[in-house]
Symmetry: C2
Subunit: 456 residues, 2 copies
């Protein structure tokens, strides 16, 4: 299949905002709102603090806002931090077909650029939709059957840089060759391994993708050159990262179907494959709570991907617990909720919780979809409670409502901003399409030093 990179580039260059279906624009706004909350919510994680200090040593000057923080960094470094922080609580959006988290690197690159050159809300929205679209389509080359890619390749690392590059190249108004080069330079920096999961390094990956992608677009704008066939070439992205890559998946229905319409927003800060388990556990304890002493064992029937990605029986800290299906099973059953509070280190390290995690068994079942799970809790008194979920909350079939996203986003913004300010930021984010200059919007996402103690 020829000219895939150029076909995608030509589409992105020619696309006009007014041609987007209004539902697609609406999804762009939802993605942005959700992103803003996630970036603020993760802004003061230890690893983000560390990266801000580190990048500050190698920084070209206070060019752009860091969401939820008081420092400013150059636009490449700001893109890094604003993508990293939005992934730090694993609360960002998901494209299920690829298991990528596409909005983080795209929105982070765009917000950084918006403080360097004039950009309207419509510019940002359109570039965001396109960056998500081409990123997801690049990922589908590697993941839509018959394609098979190694489970170790982090999909957000593989394609996040491509998304950031496309979005930045669109607002920079690059021509077809420039856009092709931006995609190519981004693919040349695709990187990230799932072995890093649940360590600081797993949050480095989306930050790095945003920085590399934004650099790719800026370099293309300055005349840096790359092969025009980086995705489909004989030594390119597709054959390097997949067996039987599916090049057709990258262009089927381009401009007609929009991948942003299939994004899922997480109701829980857990690995997405764990969400149906959480929903089932919530159902089991909704009417009648359980305490640790009552539970004999828990049996799960799951899509095989769940255990492949999140089988962590003995997490040491919150980072590991976020992607432990055993931890979420137990904490949800015991606390009747699945928020940031239920993965606090104190709960992760509690002896009762640790012991119960070892009593969670699972069976892989290919007939169970990735959005489904069956949970069976056997109690010490011999009774059994069961729940099955076919489509988890936040999945395409059961999307979060706009009100759900507002609630989730405000909750996270309140981790760094006073409540009225959090409300104002959410309201402005929903109105992004009406803003004629994003500069003030971006600067309003900064945290003034003196407000920290009030919010934290």
């Amino acid at each position: 299949m020829k000219d895939i990179t150029r076909t995608l580039a030509r589409y992105a260059c020619a696309a006009r905002f007014d041609d987007l279906p209004s539902a697609v624009r609406g999804e762009g706004v939802r993605a942005l709102v959700n992103y803003v909350g996630c970036a603020a919510g993760g802004a003061h994680e230890d690893d983000v603090d560390l990266m801000v200090r580190f990048l500050g040593e190698f920084d070209g000057g206070a060019q752009a806002t860091l969401v939820g923080r008081s420092e400013r960094l150059d636009i490449l470094n700001a893109a890094f931090i604003n993508s990293m922080s939005s992934a730090a609580l694993a609360f960002n959006d998901t494209h299920f077909i690829t298991v990528a988290h596409p909005t983080s690197p795209v929105a982070a690159a765009l917000l950084a650029l918006a403080e360097r050159r004039p950009m309207t809300g419509r510019d940002l929205l359109h570039a965001l939709v396109l960056g998500v679209e081409l990123q997801c389509r690049a990922g589908m080359i590697l993941t839509v059957p018959p394609a098979v890619s190694a489970v170790g390749l982090s999909m957000q690392g593989m394609v996040g840089s491509i998304g950031a590059a496309v979005a930045a190249a669109k607002v920079l108004q690059l021509d077809e060759t420039g856009m092709t080069t931006a995609i190519g330079l981004a693919a040349n920096q695709s990187a990230g391994l799932r072995e890093a999961q649940s360590t600081m390094a797993s949050h480095y990956t989306p930050g790095h993708a945003a920085r590399c992608g934004l650099a790719a677009a800026l370099l293309a704008a300055r005349g840096f050159e790359c092969s025009g066939s980086m995705l489909e070439g004989a030594k390119g992205f597709a054959v390097s990262f997949a067996q039987q890559p599916n090049l057709a998946a990258a262009i089927d229905g381009l401009g007609e179907r929009f991948e942003i319409s299939t994004l899922a927003y997480k109701p829980y800060p857990a690995g997405v494959v764990i969400h149906p388990i959480i929903d089932a556990c919530l159902e089991i304890v909704r009417e009648q709570p359980l305490d640790a002493g009552q539970i004999e064992r828990v049996e799960l029937r799951l899509n095989p991907l769940a255990a492949k990605l999140t089988n962590v029986v003995d997490p040491k800290d919150r980072g590991q617990a976020l992607v432990s299906f055993q931890h979420w099973t137990v904490s949800t059953l015991l606390y009747g909720a699945a928020g940031i509070a239920q993965v606090a280190n104190t709960i992760v390290r509690e002896r009762t919780v640790a012991e119960l995690r070892r009593k969670v068994s699972f069976v892989n079942d290919e007939s169970v979809s990735r959005e489904a799970a069956h949970v069976r809790v056997v109690l010490k008194d011999g009774s059994v409670r069961v729940a099955s979920v076919s489509h988890c909350r936040g999945s395409v079939e059961r999307p979060l409502t706009d009100a759900d996203i507002t609630t989730k986003t405000e909750d996270q913004l309140r981790m760094v901003f006073a409540p009225e300010r959090a409300r104002a930021i959410v309201a402005q984010s929903w109105r992004i399409e009406t803003l004629t200059d994003l500069g003030p919007f971006c600067r309003a996402l900064a945290q003034e030093n003196e407000h920290r103690s009030a919010g934290a």
Copy 2:
């Protein structure tokens, strides 16, 4: 196979310079001398100019020298440029088993660090040897049979960051955990596709590797965390980038055999797999020159890798011609030499040369080694000239002498420095082991503005 990453890290931390065989130290010096010339020779290529200007926009200050240039950049950006420039003429060293070019990112990271903290010549040499060693061994996981990796994965991109990280972590005196983290963070940034070959982007790859690797070590020093099993883990480097990865190859004979002893230094600025063809062509015209009008056709019998990597019948410019076996075959036969002059754009675009390139045919022959080639020139008068090379110049069996390396290095240094200065730099590079502070050595590699016109 368990604990590969940690085993490598433990070795690198415990290693002492005085325990290195003197031949290994000597190879370290040869690698450094060769590197210095390559970095100067490529310092004013168009793509390097462009990257210096670009990185200058996002730079933390004049911390380190750029070899052969007058600008100074922060150490991450300097590491990028000094690795990129040393690869820009494809004249850097080669580790044949992996087809990586290990010294570039390692030496570039070390020279940058040497201006930030005190470093002796012995410190640099030892770290260089270790960075080359562990980088090559990581690459061997992917390339030593039964391992098979996709031909599109750039090996210098896959492992260069690991080499730079190990070397920097050694001079930073990180402990075993820090070294393990540095290797892991570097592997998490392994990136680069051979589809970019012969474009500017292919020189971006080694620059990026140096920057990412140095950042990995600095981050590990500051407490950033990563999985301890990034190379061997179930979702790690080995299984992500190879079928049947050879983990044993990473640790077999560790501390006894040294991969730096197997490095090849290029006598010609061509893709290494082309070198035996060049040697054979030189032999054919040594006694009796040929001119274009005499040649009917040229038939090559080659190891299959040669055509797999360098089959470029119609290169558009020097960048593409550097990795075109057809171009080197023709230009060597016509000009009786194979230097930078024989890939000048004027020669690449000459009609006679272009026509003759189309008359070069090849046969793949698995029985021909990668260091061998058979060349048969059929002349219009019906006569035939043949030459066979079993080990090309610059291969392990036929290494360049120290004098060859001096000549090659001085030639390149003279592209930017006055002759007496070039000679002085080469002489000091050979004496690197005796230097107690590398700061002045590094600063002496800078080009004063006013000298450019004299040298260029």
